[in-house]
Amino acid sequence: MRNVWLIWRREMRSYFVSPIAYILLLMCAFIFGFFFWSLLQAYLQFSMEAQMRGEMFPMNMPEEITRRLFGNIPVTGLFIIPLITMRLFAEEKRTGTIELLTTSPIRDGEVILGKWLAATTMYCCLLLLSVLNVAFLFFYSHPDWKPILVSYLGLFLQAAALLAFGTFFSTLTKNQIIAGAATFCACLLLFVCGWIGEYNSETWARVLAYLSVSTHMESFTRGTLDSKDLIFYVTAIFVGLFLTARSIESLRWRS
């Protein structure tokens, strides 16, 4: 466990010593801010029109806004996740520091876990920026905090699963750009492969729909905790980290 902590700490430092962390934070602050602002504008307009027509505003505005916002964050994540994970192992392979790790008395699993945890921590820092936006809603109204918390759990789990796959792709190459591009491609496919299920109800399409990370997100954004979706994400994390471990092991036999 101590070794995991060691690796985690080194990774976190390297995120925050280099400009990577700050650039990502800045990017996310802008993007989340824009999402929030535009959603707020839309609903202000909508409620004003409703009032002018003399209707009651029919829905719970803060909840509608957070639901939309949490629907947008994973899309941002698609672009952010490759940026977070691409250097994890690719950089170590390029500079040769991987030799230090593999010849030290530390297990591969500890290295992988430490790195993946650092990546998820980094992503959590970015998620926290959106909390700033959500906090405004609490300031001016009284939304229910429980579904919001569940949504955040969903966002976290989905990202953690994709980050695990990103970690895996980072072990495959020395080149960060290739690792990043492969991760982006995989994340995007995992994101959209559910679409096929909307028009097609054959078994393979249903399987594909099941494998999509976005379909399992719906229950979370509705504010319900569905064990089926929870298990899906946790399994995906395990599969990603397992593939990483196998890839690191094969590195020794191949290189």
Binding site: N3, L6, V17, T95, L100, P105, R252
Partner: protein
């Protein structure tokens, strides 16, 4: 301390290390000698558990590299060809990270960091970023991380490659000073380095063990025969090189003459001598008496290649075109 038996590493297309066996006693400095691509790094990587061997076995400090890699890793300090440095880290921070990885903590870790920084003369860059250090400092930080946990065995892959002469000497002295406490294997393709630092030599070529011997024995075996460079100039501004070659070939003890550089007025030859023949005096006299000027005479460093040839008794596969075999011209 280290026992290697029939160690083999095969890749899809080639065999990098081919049935190598040797043994290293505790406290020795062993030079791992061979041309580039001979399999030095691969062998070292197998000893450090970075690569698993295809067949054969290696034990370090009594532990098998395949069976108990964790125990082996605890007892090994390894400096790869390029020091494994994280460019964004500070030197002190990096040493602390590596020390913790190797299982040191608390006061012991602090004390070891102080010790290795002083020992490797890197105390003055402890608060500098590794990426901004000069090559010499990087190499010494690499050495510092290898010895931080006071390992029984030190494996150094070309520790002096890419350093300037002053740094090379400092690094060699440092390695020599470490010998008492550690068993050291260092790889190199520079022969004098082995002569200076090591007690034992393991020579490999194309993945095969060519010779393993003490340095003294090796030197005795290779000494005797030497190569001399001579630059000869003609008095009247022209020089007939074949005439010079024929004349030098007649000097007793000369085994071979190679024309190295040819100019209209002067030319350079490499003269190889037979074992235990000291020919320089005769050579100089012969050239001057023939009416040429002797501009320069210096001994050519015996290259590793030649040591190989001598040790293995192999003939060169393709004789150089302009070589004149001494016996034939007589």
């Amino acid at each position: 301390m280290i026992t290697v038996k029939e160690l083999t590493k095969r890749y899809a297309r080639n065999t990098a290390v081919d049935h190598i066996s040797f043994e290293i006693q505790k406290g020795q400095i062993v030079g791992f000698l061979g041309p580039n691509g001979a399999g030095k790094t691969t062998t070292m990587r197998m000893l450090t558990c970075f690569l698993p061997p295809t067949s054969g076995s290696a034990t370090v400090a009594g532990f098998d590299v395949l069976e108990e890699p964790m125990e082996v890793k605890k007892r090994i300090g390894y400096l790869p060809e390029t020091p494994p440095l994280y460019p964004e880290m500070m030197t002190g921070e990096y040493l602390s990270f590596v020390g913790s990885l190797k299982g040191l903590r608390g006061a012991e870790l602090k004390q070891r960091i102080d010790y290795v920084s002083e020992r490797c003369a890197i105390a003055d860059v402890r608060n500098k970023q590794l990426g901004k250090l000069s090559k010499g400092y990087r190499q010494r930080v690499g050495l510092a991380q290898a010895i931080i946990h006071n390992p029984e065995v030190l494996i150094l892959d070309e520790p002096t490659a890419g350093l300037d002469p002053k740094q090379i000497n400092e690094t060699r002295d440092l390695i020599k000073s470490l010998a008492g406490d550690h068993t050291i294997i260092l790889s190199t393709h520079i022969l004098p380095e082995v002569e200076q630092i090591c007690q034992q030599v393991i020579i490999i070529s194309k993945g095969k063990l060519v010779a393993t011997d003490t340095v003294d024995n090796l030197q005795n075996r290779s000494r005797g025969a030497e190569s001399v460079f001579v630059e000869v100039a003609g008095r009247n501004g022209a020089l007939d090189t074949t005439l010079v070659q024929a004349r030098i070939g007649k000097v007793s003890g000369v085994s071979r003459i190679v024309l190295k550089e040819k100019h209209p007025a002067h030319s350079t030859f490499e003269v190889e001598t037979q074992k235990d023949h000291f020919v320089r005096g005769d050579l100089a006299r012969a050239i001057v008496e023939a009416g040429w000027d002797l501009n320069e005479m210096r001994s050519a460093a015996v290259s590793l290649e030649e040591i190989f040839l001598q040790l293995t008794g192999k003939q060169e596969a393709t004789p150089r075109e302009d070589a004149v075999v001494a016996g034939a011209s007589k």
